[in-house]
Subunit: 390 residues, 2 copies
């Protein structure tokens, strides 16, 4: 009688939640420091001090807790536009930005604005599992292009087979959750060329939605700024990772003027946000981030962690594409069934996420946004784990 | 090509926005203090000091900005349950509460959880205009029962004509926006009796969704706590008005154990929130409100305002049902077309909202959450306005 789809979404067994609950229990049993929990993408580096100072400063505003306009505080929108323009040589205005409850609401509003019932959205494995939920709930169908297992760049051969006249949008996520791979400039150029060609062939727009919560977390490689490569690009962003504010739910949608009919696309995103129960993003945090839009947390620790765990595991014999960004490592399981491997790892108190829900079989995701000690102390356990397979 | 419904929602002419923009311009022209702007329901009383102190205190938490669980922080949920139980003699547990981005997201998640395509939701004029948007966007159809113009209590005669086997839910909002009227215990008892009878007749649940952002703003009358009168009641709440935090987007859905199949209803609400891009409500504010759940802003000023403006206007000859709650007065326009009356009032620099979008013709809404001075200084203008009609 109630909505069955929503009930399923609310009750569906979630492997990450299951591991999380197990981890909590296990830590209580044997002690937190000897459970090696690589499950969650919760930033281990604190938010910059300046954010907390800005929160305290903005508390004295008369309108600290007041409604902002639905599109967001103008000063925040200007700060973001200025910061992007400075870093990427773009020329965005504040009117290109719509402030959201983080990337999740940015993606949902964008998908709802673009999709008509039954239209298809393509994404590339491995992919963030919620894309399926977000796309289906907004009336679309998610089509997943199988992974390119050699590099975790885009598998263009398979992409060309799946794109069709019912394709309305493509979602990319680079630096990628769960692989940690950064799409190269070559990849983005090739993707743009195909999309341009297909737009002509089908005679309608194909929007490229670029989900970029990890944009600032990259190690010595360039993360191409996608709006510069493809006209119909819409950026969805969150401050969850770059400013370590995952719980505060602040992000944005960026609709460049170059997008066809961009004013209407922007208006439809505003309309969709309204339809999804968005009134305005949390006001105090909007004001605080306006003062700090060009900052990031001290992200260097993630690079140290990346080196430690990547070198540690590959030295032990694990196979993994070297990740240049985000804080994830996508490691080949030591047996075909990732879930069995995950269970085996549990015997060594190593908690990782099997890859099936990310659209790839036979891998596990390791979130290395943890303390250095956790990584160092986990390596002997990983050693025992790989030895158990010999 | 993009979603036409969302485009319409994003571009639709909004009378409140239009007035707001006009007001801004006019204030810049002639001075803020001589424009009498009664347009917006933005609390004029600041948040209690304790909230800002709690924000600062909670900033020192390691997890101040971290994800909370999707259902919300347990301490906050417990504080709310305890506060409700103490005040209303109920026995809710924290597991009955799901924390949301304010009432808008509470309503959207609840409607999405309950509705199957095309099912009907009934509400009573005058009503909060966004109910139409929220219901349609979640796949339902909003059916509006005409107002009882004598009292602005429920028009039961018309309600009985409109309820039918396709009715899935009923939304009430008391104290009411825009009328300020509090539904009496008699009204709630009668409503519950009809719903019980119709549940039996149709052999399915009819959920009563009670949207209660103004619950704490009532002047010397009892606001019946609806879950005590009808089993299948779901409460949607926001701290926007009671704690003067409209921009912070914190509220909740309360699903009592008494609701049929309540665990599944709760799970479907969680699923729906996920489908709408909800990850968790803003963390720092969740922690702060957990410390202040039993507080309200100093709401006495609204009662003073109510007396001032109600007595002032009725003395001048305006007609209005005396409102016992919220911070709205619903005044009969001095000509049949409320929009024409609104335009006439503009000539006296009085800004009010014509009633058509609230589902009633021939009234205007006056939001008296303004300074005392604004009200006092507006009365001579209201005098001139009524004289202009003689």
């Amino acid at each position: 009688m109630i909505n069955e789809k929503m009930l399923k979404l609310g009750t569906k067994r979630s492997i990450i939640r299951e591991i999380f609950e197990y981890g909590k229990k296990r830590k209580a049993e044997i002690g937190e420091e000897i459970v090696f929990d690589f499950t969650l993408g919760n930033p281990s580096i604190p938010a910059p001090m300046e954010i907390n100072e800005a929160i305290i400063n903005n508390l004295t505003r008369k309108d600290a807790h007041g409604y902002t306009s639905a599109v967001g505080d103008n000063k925040l929108r200007e700060s973001i536009a200025n910061d992007l323009n400075k870093r990427f040589g773009t020329s965005f205005k504040f009117t290109n930005l719509f402030i959201t409850y983080g990337a999740a609401s940015a993606l949902c509003s964008t998908l709802r604005a673009l999709l008509n019932n039954g239209e298809e959205v393509i994404t590339f494995a491995p992919f963030f599992t919620e894309y399926t939920v977000f796309t289906e709930a907004q009336g679309g169908k998610l089509v997943v292009v199988p992974a390119n297992l050699d590099t975790f760049q885009i598998n263009f051969t398979e992409f060309k087979k799946l794109i069709n006249s019912n394709t309305k949008a493509v979602i990319i996520n680079s630096p990628n959750n769960p692989s940690g791979v950064v799409y190269s400039e070559e990849t983005i150029i090739k993707l743009a060329a195909i999309l341009n060609e297909k737009e002509q062939e089908y005679n309608h727009e194909i929007y490229l939605i670029t989900d970029e919560p990890y944009r600032e977390i990259a190690y010595g490689v360039k993360v191409p700024f996608v709006t510069k490569y493809y006209k119909n690009t819409i950026v969805c962003y969150s401050y969850s990772k770059s400013l370590s504010l995952p719980g505060e739910r602040i992000g944005y949608v960026l609709v460049p003027d170059e997008v066809s009919d961009s004013k209407n696309v922007y208006a439809a995103i505003a309309g969709a946000a309204r339809a999804l129960g968005h009134v305005c993003a949390p006001s105090l945090l909007q004001f605080a981030i306006a003062d700090c839009a060009s900052l990031t947390s001290d992200l260097k620790a993630y690079e140290e962690n990346r080196n430690l765990i990547y070198n540690g595991l590959t030295d032990l014999g694990y196979e993994c594409v070297k990740p240049d960004g985000a804080f994830y490592l996508f490691v080949k399981a030591l047996e075909p069934d990732a879930y069995e491997f995950y269970k085996k790892a549990l015997e060594y108190d190593i908690l990782v996420v099997p890859s099936d829900d990310f659209g790839v079989k036979g891998y596990v995701r390791i979130a290395y946004c943890v303390s250095k000690e956790t990584i160092i102390n986990s390596l002997p356990k990983f050693k025992k784990l790989i030895e158990s397979y010999k």
